[in-house]
Symmetry: C2
Subunit: 292 residues, 2 copies
């Protein structure tokens, strides 16, 4: 079993990401203290009864994160939507011991990292496990979500080498391959690899909404293409809005590319179409996606 560089962990946000993280910790042999707080009544009930490795996954569950006894916590994980992070940075600054480390799992970084660093300094370092699912809540949580994935650790304006080393050790023990990116590079890259695809999937399905007869006429292609459009619209509106500059820049390039392809389709020669599709297929073959 792996060794975790933290032994008293609290997770705020017991939805899919936080709940799965808790289950994965126990599945990978974490034997330290684990507290949890925050979530719907269903999330809290399921978290209370969750078992892993023959024991309760959580040592303590609080409904309200403000009631979490944080005095001995050495790692606080904020598994909440990006829009909700600020309030928990403040809670952490007021209640955590000085040596405790704080991280989050959010998909968009710039605003939040600036706020987190302002309140917590270098003991806050942002994480982004490249994991996703369109489901919500602890009911959908499972330890295998944290399997065969990469986790980005984000370098903001302040970084502490020891905090970075401990978080690297934590994610490695949780099965991740850890990468380091500065905040701006993270947000630009994720606009391309996650945020704009979400916008496209939602936008594509929105356009089909006026033609209900199409609902019977799709196969597995559209199902997978649009899986991410089953995600929480509030979460994704928040992510897209926070990262709108990078998303718009990438969207402009896509619109140009689509315009070019439309020109090909309007012409007489299908060869450039085949060349484009072939390049797309080849590029995809170089991506290292999570296996499930």
């Amino acid at each position: 079993m792996s060794t975790f560089p933290f032994q008293n962990i609290a997770i705020i946000g017991l939805g899919l990401m936080g709940g799965s993280l808790a289950l994965a910790l126990r599945a990978r042999g974490y034997t330290g203290i684990l507290q949890g707080a925050g979530g719907s009544a269903s999330d809290l009930g399921l978290a209370r009864s969750a078992q892993g490795h023959g024991r309760a996954v959580f040592d303590e569950i609080c409904e309200d994160p403000a009631d979490l006894p944080l005095g001995a916590v050495d790692l606080l994980i904020l598994a909440v939507p990006p829009a909700a992070l600020s309030v928990y940075f403040a809670l952490a600054a007021e209640n955590l011991p000085a040596a405790a480390v704080v991280t989050d799992l959010a998909s968009v970084k710039a605003n939040n990292v600036a706020k987190g660093e302002a309140l917590l300094g270098a003991r806050y370092q942002s994480s982004h496990p490249l994991i996703g699912a369109e489901q919500h809540g602890f009911a959908a949580a499972h330890a295998d979500l944290y399997r065969d994935y990469r986790c980005i650790l984000c370098q903001g304006s302040v970084t502490d080498a020891e905090v970075d080393e401990r978080l690297t050790g934590f994610w490695t023990a949780l099965g991740a391959e850890v990468l380091h990116l500065d905040v701006a590079t993270h947000d630009t890259a994720l606009a391309a690899t996650s945020h704009l695809p979400h916008l496209l999937a939602f936008a594509y399905l929105e356009l089909l909404g006026a033609e209900p007869e199409l609902a019977l006429l799709a196969g597995g292609g559209l199902r997978d293409f649009s899986r991410i459009a089953a995600s929480d619209p509030r979460l994704w509106a928040d992510i897209l809005w926070q990262n709108r500059a990078a998303v718009r820049a990438r969207l402009a390039r896509l619109q140009e590319g689509l315009g070019r392809l439309d020109g090909v389709l309007a012409g007489e020669d299908p060869a450039p179409l085949l060349a484009s599709l072939s390049r797309g297929q080849q590029t995809r073959s170089r991506f290292r996606f999570p296996s499930s």
Copy 2:
């Protein structure tokens, strides 16, 4: 076990679609004669050794479809790419008994149905099982591909009620829910539910090709969004080219929609963004996708 209204079936094209169809026929209890032809050396070898229900799946395999003994066949299934259909329509017209039925599985209909009807008349009726996978070849074939799906039967300019009834029975026995569409409606609908999503997935990945560092920075979202961009570029260039009028019309509407969303992202009010994503999510929830 189901009753199949044909008892002497030949499949031309022993790739993923044709191979899976053969396996599914045996899995669903088809006990009649089954011949196959056409495919790579690997496809042919795997088809020759394929077993189902304790017997060889195929009674006879020919390398060259022209060598298939078609004199007693009552259903010929053309499981070849759309660009290859014409030559087999001619083969069928020359060699099949007058009462035999011919169908194909292609994803685009207009040109091909016109050609098929010109050579075969009403004994040809086009099918489109809404099934897909990005893999190729008999090696990827499995009976479960034909599970929990819909199959469109296409009405061209000539339709024979008895042929239609027998093909409806055939697909129903193969587990499909059968729908009927005229050729133009099929191609317009499939441009929206399949062809343009393929173009988008290929085009999106093509745009990422200049940034190899992104290959480590994608999660399950882009993996699923772009799964269809792992498909055969030649097949899809052919489909998109054959249906380019409908694809371009749909693409124009998408580009308008994306332009509107870009305007929202450029503005001060995120509410219309959330409204769009919510409509996209709601529309998706009304789709009936195959379950796997």
